[in-house]
Amino acid sequence: MPVPRCSGPCGGVRPAALRRPRTGGAVCRSCFCNAFEAEVLTTLQTGRLLPPGAIVAVGASGGKDSTVLAHVLRALDARHGLELDLRLVAVDEGIGGYRDAALAAVRRQAARWQLPLTVVAYADLFGGWTMDEVARRAAQEPGRARACCTFCGVLRRRALEEGAQRVRATHIVTGHNADDMAETVLMNFLRGDSGRLARGGTLGSPGEGGALPRCRPLQFASQKEIVLYAHFQELDYFSEECVYAPEAFRGHVRDLLKALEAARPSVVLDLVHSAERLALAPAARPPPPGACTRCGALASRSLCQACALLDGLNRGRPRLAIGKGRKGLGEEGEEQSCASKDRGRPIRAGAIQAF
């Protein structure tokens, strides 16, 4: 079967290189890369996500998403004069054999792009706890096989915030893509977490309680397009799965979504769109959050998630922090299976309605 000609702006001068999941259109490498970058620019501009002069901490894991994010932001900044001051912030979770190789990829990127890189380590931030130590401790607790990504997601969010504050950033960007978003929507459905479901469709958080505003410029870009963009641009990224990820619930949801996508390629973006249309019924809205009594971060209880989690670990009872008794944190759940895939604070479950 001969490859069709490109149906993009080049007018069919070149053969097509891929079928775009959203539109089904067959486009060549060059038209695709231009469109991909233009769509990220549209996301930035429509949501007014990064104002001129912003000091932007890019959550960099060395993986495909953050690699593409940094590359595209850098290109758009140069081409369109966005006046962004980009800084890479990487988190060293202390996962032997995994994070070391990923951090090496981040260091190569920083050198190639001449961007400043700051690495913040769990061990330094969290009183000596590395993720491997946390996992060892969690494994001693019966029935907590899936806890690792729960701890890691909460701690990584905090670590990225710390790193961003250290480089005096005004904004944080993460590489969440449309597939991540759709997985999260499905997981929230499957867990009955309507609060998260209703908040899931926004472009990010505006920054409350002293936290920096966060956004996800790639949240409408599909996994397939991100990987192909990285391939066509010959970007160097790290592509191994975290050693703890196979335990996470997200894996099942991902498989389900991939199977659905085979039958209906637009399903990922359709799901993201669905979440955008959801809002909490007034009666189900949680009370406004207060401040963590220990660190001052936004918290719906006396301790924020990260402090509650560390508190449990330090008392030798990690289940204290993540067990059924602490529903909010349980809901935070295992979805943060990969770097920087973290979400906002927990709110109480309740009814949802579409508007």
């Binding site: 079967m1 490859v3 069709p4 053969p15 097509a16 290189a17 891929l18 079928r19 067959a26 894991s61 993986g63 495909k64 998403d65 953050s66 690699t67 590489g175 597939d179 996994q223 397939k224 991100i226 990987v227 192909l228 391939h231 990224y237 592509s239 191994e240 799965e241 975290c242 990820a245 991902r254 498989d255 991939k258 199977a259 996508e261 085979a262 299976s337 990969c338 770097a339 895939k341």
Partner: protein, 94 residues
């Protein structure tokens, strides 16, 4: 003629590039046959992470001569001499 990257190489002993010569057969070689041949001859571990049913696991991208296999008939694409088949996994963090 096939090279798994993007993490897929981990199922192939970490080897990224495989130059293979396929045995001649009466039926022309297509991707469907190639996957079976790969499963039998190249896959080193956990074949279900690469092949599901008679196709690749959803989430693994296939490029035939650097173009999306979805444009080229997917499993029915008939292999030509010197074809370059690339498998890229999207199934990892980032």
């Amino acid at each position: 003629i096939s090279s798994p990257i993007g993490g897929a190489e981990l199922l192939f002993d970490g080897v990224k590039k495989h130059q293979v010569t396929l045995p001649s057969q009466e039926e022309p070689w297509d991707i469907r046959n190639l996957l079976l041949w790969i499963k039998k001859n190249l896959l080193k571990e956990r074949p279900e992470l690469f092949i599901q049913g008679d196709s690749v696991r959803p989430g693994i991208l296939v490029l035939i001569n650097d173009a999306d296999w979805e444009l080229q008939g997917e499993l029915d694409y008939q292999l030509q001499d010197q074809d370059n088949i690339l498998f890229i996994s999207t199934l990892h963090g980032g």
